[in-house]
Each structure stands twice: as C-alpha cells, then as structure tokens.
Homo-oligomer: 124 residues x 2
DNA sequence: CTGGATCCAGCCGGATACTG
DNA sequence: CAGTATCCGGCTGGATCCAG
C-alpha cells in the first residue's frame, strides 16, 4: 500500500480511526445494523447484550459524527428514533464479519493457549 | 455463519477475543511483526511510535498468553528478547491489513463527516 | 537491554434519577 | 421511548525508578 508505515506514527489518521472502530460497542452496533437493517434505539439495546444506555448512546453519537450511521427521529408520541448504516458504514461490514468469524473459529485455540500458559506458571 | 448472534451475548467467546485483538497496541504489534518478521523488544518499541514500555510489555504478555506470539529470551549480556508471530497470530494478518487499508482509504470521508457534523452544531 | 514495581492522573463505564 | 445529567468506583495508561 502507499503508506504501510504511517499507522505507526503517533498522529496518523488510520490510527485515530482504528481507535474509533476498534471500540467494542461500535463494532457490535455496526454488525447488528448490518444484519437486521435499520433498528430503533431500543431494538439495538436489546440486540447488544450487556451494553448500558449511556455507552450505546455515546457510541451511536460517535458513529453518527463519523458518518457511519444516520439517525432519524420521528417526532411522534412517544418519540421514535431509527439508526441505519450509511454506505460508508456498510463498507465496514465485510471486514467486521471476517473479524467475527476469525474470533469464533480460533477461540478454541486461544483458550487452549491460555490454559497452557496459565498452567505453566499459575503465579503469573 | 453458524452462530451469527452469539457475539451479542455477554459472555460469548468471540466477544472476549474481540476485546483482546481490538486493542490498539496489540493490532499494531501484530502488523509490525507481520511486516518485519521477528523483532526484538526495542525494535518493536521503535516501530510503534508513542507506545510506553509498560503498555508494550503488557500487550506482548497478553498476546503471548493468547498464543499469538512467541517470546524467546537469549540469556546473553545484555539480555536479548525476540518476539515472533505464531501461525495463529499470522492468520490475523490479512484481516488487520484490510482494516488498516480501510482506515487509510476512508479516513477522508470520515474527516469530512466529522467536519460537517461539528459545523452543524458546534455546541455538541 | 528488557522488563518489573510503583505512583498517580484521567477517562471509562455502570447506576441512578430526571425530562420531553 | 429515547434520551440527558450526575455521581463515582475502577481500570487504563503514562512517568519514573529500580533490577537482572
């Protein structure tokens, strides 16, 4: 690639972005929206087990700011808010799926490595 | 995939792993080791600008525990320590490269989205 | 040279209460 | 329903000093 080394400099754009999408809730939100299409706030919260509403809102705001999702508020009573991936956000889907697939495929190996490592010197 | 929804449960293995490799220093270390081959501790530290030795050591220990890298200590004076990717760690390279490429390709779009978002309501 | 140990500021993130 | 606001404990991560 044109700048293979640039991610290793402190202020490289790709590094900032890596931090942005490296976030756990961000990636899970993108995958959830990719799988299920547009989702309401509450539906997203239900999909992503264990997320607090603070973290979910915070993540969604950041994703909206970064142009990864759109936020559509319907001023009914009660209010309805839908989140949907932008084309930019959708372009991340294949990568995240690969990452997720890798995790699910190789987790046993990692668990084995951990067990062996911990068994070798429990004190560590 | 066989269990598309499992990463959304709180204690799913893939979620733990996502946290492990989602770490900034971990992914940068893997890419660095993938590009340059085995590296000494100091060489790694020099490659990854901005990392503290505490964080680098911590990341390397975690990666070693997870079976992603091997740590080889040569008891000379001074001590020499080499880190190298395991096959498991190497299998992550394509994914991380894609992620890095995506970041470098789409960063302008993200920056534009941010600028627009911030311009719309500076108070946010 | 490669780290371990410690101190400490700052942010992350959960719980709770309140609002339109 | 979909947030915002606030409090606060705990962990992250940098700086520094020390050791094999």
């Amino acid at each position: 690639m044109s700048c293979a080394y640039e991610a290793f400099t402190a202020d490289c754009p790709s590094r900032r972005l890596l931090e942005a999408i490296g976030n756990k809730w961000v990636s899970l939100s993108i995958v959830a929206l990719g799988v299920h299409g547009p989702l309401r706030y509450g539906e997203l919260a239900a999909q992503i087990e264990g997320v607090s509403q603070k973290m979910l809102t915070q993540s969604l705001r950041r994703m909206e700011r970064d142009g990864l999702v759109t936020r559509t508020v319907t001023p009914s009573v009660p209010v309805r808010t839908d989140y949907e991936l932008t084309p930019l956000g959708r372009s991340l889907l294949p990568l995240l799926h690969e990452l997720k697939d890798w995790a699910q495929e190789h987790m046993p190996a990692v668990d084995a490595a951990r067990a062996e490592y911990d068994a070798a010197a429990p004190s560590r």
